[in-house]
């Protein structure tokens, strides 16, 4: 038993060290080298190479070489879970940690992303292209509709938020209607190429299936983002606490729809409360790593841009932000939509790793997990969120389950006692979160050097 505790601890430390190394190599800057009279900057090449190497290190561990596999299925499961949790928690940190909007709706968007992506690939592998066609054209058309309505209403000042919401909703519904009609029209043409579940056709295997999987995750993310746009538009105009309650309500609504997905919603394949089975397990380490890195890079770049600073300014002082020419309502909505997009992507990756979706996994009580993680890691710290996501999964699902499982079969339930106690302790010792404001390597905002001025000693 002692050995397994030690081993689990080592795993956590190795994972954190791995992350540190990853962000370090992603942020390495080297001096430009002069080759043939031309200055060549190798920084970006080294950063990309570092990411590729980091990917292959884990990939090697997951590969079975001559009967030996360093990371077993249990470990790889933990890794995939940690990757999805990172995406969801980063999105929530953008909404709550950086923009200051207390949201409990993240888990709902995660669930929407999971079910939407799963439905696309499930139908695809069962000889039905309508999932991809309808959702794909749907999100694109709805995006166009939202953009058009936005263009149209931008000239109208002080428009009541519910009026503009109605217009956006109308536009999206029209888009959805067109998409469903298109699906009826187009999918019969594609269906013969898909074959059946047992005898997959040319489009339902190999590279094509990977492409469909990729698209399903992207579309699921955009779908979640568009729902969050429609939901956030009226609800974000509420004050912060009311917004929290409303988003909690959203998560419960999503959960209820999942439980009744085969009765009140027309999706028999989701099987309601019994859970959706038979989702192709397409998430490989490559995809999990790819989507996680994409989310991390996008969020880091966003935060280091002028738009990211406007997100921060809203958290700091809304009235001052407004007086500095920042569209506060628009900025809140932007952060909320991007955060939900990340959650939707995470959901898509999760669904294809686990292969089975049960509404129980999207219950609002479990929905507090990402909130706990970002508080644990430090609000407004990307490094904190990422390390806390990995640490949390490896500690709670890995170490405690393994160690307690050795005591007795019932003992793993004790982890929900041990883990809140850990949280309590941490809050008492370090209320600013495990890592506070620290950022590692790539995630760190470069300090702007002082301008050369003769200003020294001024300010008498």
């Amino acid at each position: 038993m002692n050995l397994s505790i030690l081993l689990s601890l080592v795993k956590i430390i190795v994972v954190i060290a791995y992350l540190y190394g990853l962000f370090w190599v992603m942020g390495v800057k080297v001096r430009p080298v002069v080759i043939g009279g031309k200055k060549v900057d190798f920084s970006l090449a080294i950063n990309v190479l570092g990411v590729v190497v980091a990917f292959f290190i884990i990939q090697l561990g997951l590969t079975n070489i001559g009967g030996f596999q360093l990371l077993n299925n249990f470990d790889s499961g933990l890794l995939f879970q940690a990757c999805t949790m990172t995406m969801v928690a980063l999105g929530l940190n953008l909404i709550y940690g950086y923009n200051g909007q207390f949201s409990l709706g993240q888990w709902g968007f995660y669930g929407i992303g999971a079910y939407a992506a799963a439905d696309i690939t499930y139908r695809w592998t069962n000889g039905d292209a309508s999932g991809l066609v309808v959702l794909g054209t749907g999100v694109i058309l709805a995006g166009i509709a939202i953009w058009l309505v936005g263009k149209f209403t931008s000239n109208l000042r002080r428009m009541p938020v519910l009026s503009s919401f109605t217009l956006y909703l109308l536009g999206s519904l029209i888009a959805a209607f067109i998409a469903i009609q298109l699906g009826k029209l187009l999918s019969p043409a594609i269906n013969p190429l898909l074959g059946t579940n047992l005898a997959p056709g040319p489009l339902a295997q190999g590279v094509w299936l990977q492409v469909v999987f990729f698209l399903s995750v992207i579309f699921a993310g955009i779908f979640a983002a568009e729902i969050s746009f429609l939901f956030g538009l009226p609800v974000l105009s509420l004050g912060s606490d009311y917004f929290g309650i409303a988003t909690l309500g959203f998560t419960i609504v999503v959960y209820t729809l999942m439980v009744n997905s085969d009765t009140i919603l027309p999706f028999p394949e989701m099987r309601g409360g019994r859970g959706m089975i038979g989702i192709p397990k397409l998430t490989t380490w490559f995809w999990a790593f790819f989507f996680m890195i994409a989310v991390i890079v996008a969020m880091r770049d966003l935060l280091h841009s002028s738009h990211g600073r406007s997100i921060l300014s809203v958290r700091e002082d809304e009235v001052a932000a407004r007086s500095m020419g920042i569209d506060v309502a628009g900025t809140k909505l932007m952060a909320f939509v991007i955060g939900s997009l990340f959650a939707g992507l995470g959901g898509g990756v999760y669904a294809h790793y686990i292969g089975f979706l049960s509404p129980g996994a999207f219950d609002f009580l479990i929905g507090f997990n990402p909130m706990i993680i970002i508080v644990f890691g430090g609000l407004g710290s990307m490094t904190g969120t990422i390390t806390a996501s990995f640490g949390w999964i490896f500690f709670l699902e890995g170490m405690l389950r393994e160690v307690l499982g050795k005591i007795s079969p019932e003992a793993p339930s004790w982890r929900y006692v041990l883990y809140p106690l850990t949280l309590l302790l941490l809050m008492l010792i370090r209320p600013q979160g495990l890592l506070g404001n620290t950022e590692w390597g790539f995630l760190k905002l470069p300090t702007v050097p002082f301008k050369n001025t003769a200003d020294e000693g001024e300010n008498a």
């Binding site: 000042r157 002080r158 996008a298 770049d301 966003l302 280091h304 841009s305 002028s306 738009h307 990211g308 600073r309 406007s310 921060l312 300014s313 700091e316 002082d317 009235v319 001052a320 932000a321 407004r322 007086s323 500095m324 020419g325 920042i326 569209d327 506060v328 932007m334 300090t447 702007v448 002082f450 301008k451 001025t453 200003d455 020294e456 001024e458 300010n459």
Partner: protein
């Protein structure tokens, strides 16, 4: 700098009235500012000065009246639209983005002029990199003018009070205003700092070709730099004129010191 009758006034407020429920905070307030004016708005506590500022900047919607900025009626504009149109302001109780650095405070004010899309930011396109560089240069230039270069990487809330005031003015200037509204810029300053502030306000007015309207309780500052003063009490204008005229106006003395003083 004095206005000729043909010029469009920078700011023209007519019949501005604001009720909070049954309480009349401002009643039929008129004010005209011309290019390059340095005007003061004074009055006892609760006279409605900040309410007027909040209506000009769009934080409150006026009950009645019009506010024209360079001939455009800005009543009903969102606050950020008014700032982008060219009205910058500071706050009575300093409202810096207190957990961010001084430089970031200024860079946020440049957001409206950043000129690149969300996509440019996420993909870190050359346009983004070029504009970011320019924003930093512009911000540093402003900090230099305000003698704040030394503290650019300090967290705003850790600065001494006087410097926070200067950061706030610098941040308002970063929005590129043509009209600057200063809400009690000298509050909490010692006499020496007030003298420096007076020089600073004169300097930025000439340097950035601004029109300045300020609310202030420090009579030394108001009488020292304002060319034109409006006095209000209980939401109504009780006197207008040059500092000298105001100082000798019996109504003003009564409002400030009470009847029989």
């Amino acid at each position: 700098m004095n206005a000729t009758p043909e010029q469009t006034p920078v700011l023209e407020i007519q019949g501005l009235t604001k009720y909070f429920g049954g309480l009349r905070a401002v009643n039929d307030f008129n004010l005209t500012l011309h290019e390059g004016d340095l005007a003061g708005l004074i009055g006892p506590n609760g006279a409605g000065k900040t309410t007027i500022f909040n209506q000009i900047t769009g934080i409150y919607l006026p009950t009645k009246g019009s506010i024209k900025f360079y001939g455009v009626d800005i009543v009903g504009f969102e606050p950020h639209e008014i700032t982008r149109a060219g009205i910058g302001r500071t706050f009575q109780n300093i409202r810096l983005f207190s957990n961010l650095t001084v430089l970031d405070n200024l860079r946020i004010a440049f957001h409206a002029q950043s000129g690149y899309s969300l996509f440019d930011g996420i993909a870190a396109t050359p346009k983004y990199q070029k504009r970011e560089k320019e924003i930093i240069e512009n911000a540093q230039e402003l900090l230099d003018i305000m003698k704040l270069s030394r503290v650019q990487n300090e967290i705003a809330k850790n600065l001494p009070y006087g410097e926070q005031r200067r950061v706030e003015i610098a941040r308002a200037l970063a929005c590129g205003p043509r009209l600057l509204l200063l809400d009690e810029p000298a509050a909490g300053m010692n006499p020496k700092e007030i003298t420096q502030l007076m020089e600073l306000i004169h300097f930025i007015r000439d340097k950035f070709k601004l029109t300045v309207l300020l609310i202030e309780h420090q009579m030394r500052l108001v009488m020292g730099i304002c060319e034109h003063i409006t006095v209000i009490d209980f939401g109504e204008v009780i006197a207008r004129g040059t500092p000298k005229e105001i100082q000798n106006n019996p109504k003003v003395i009564e409002a400030y010191l009470g009847k029989g003083a």
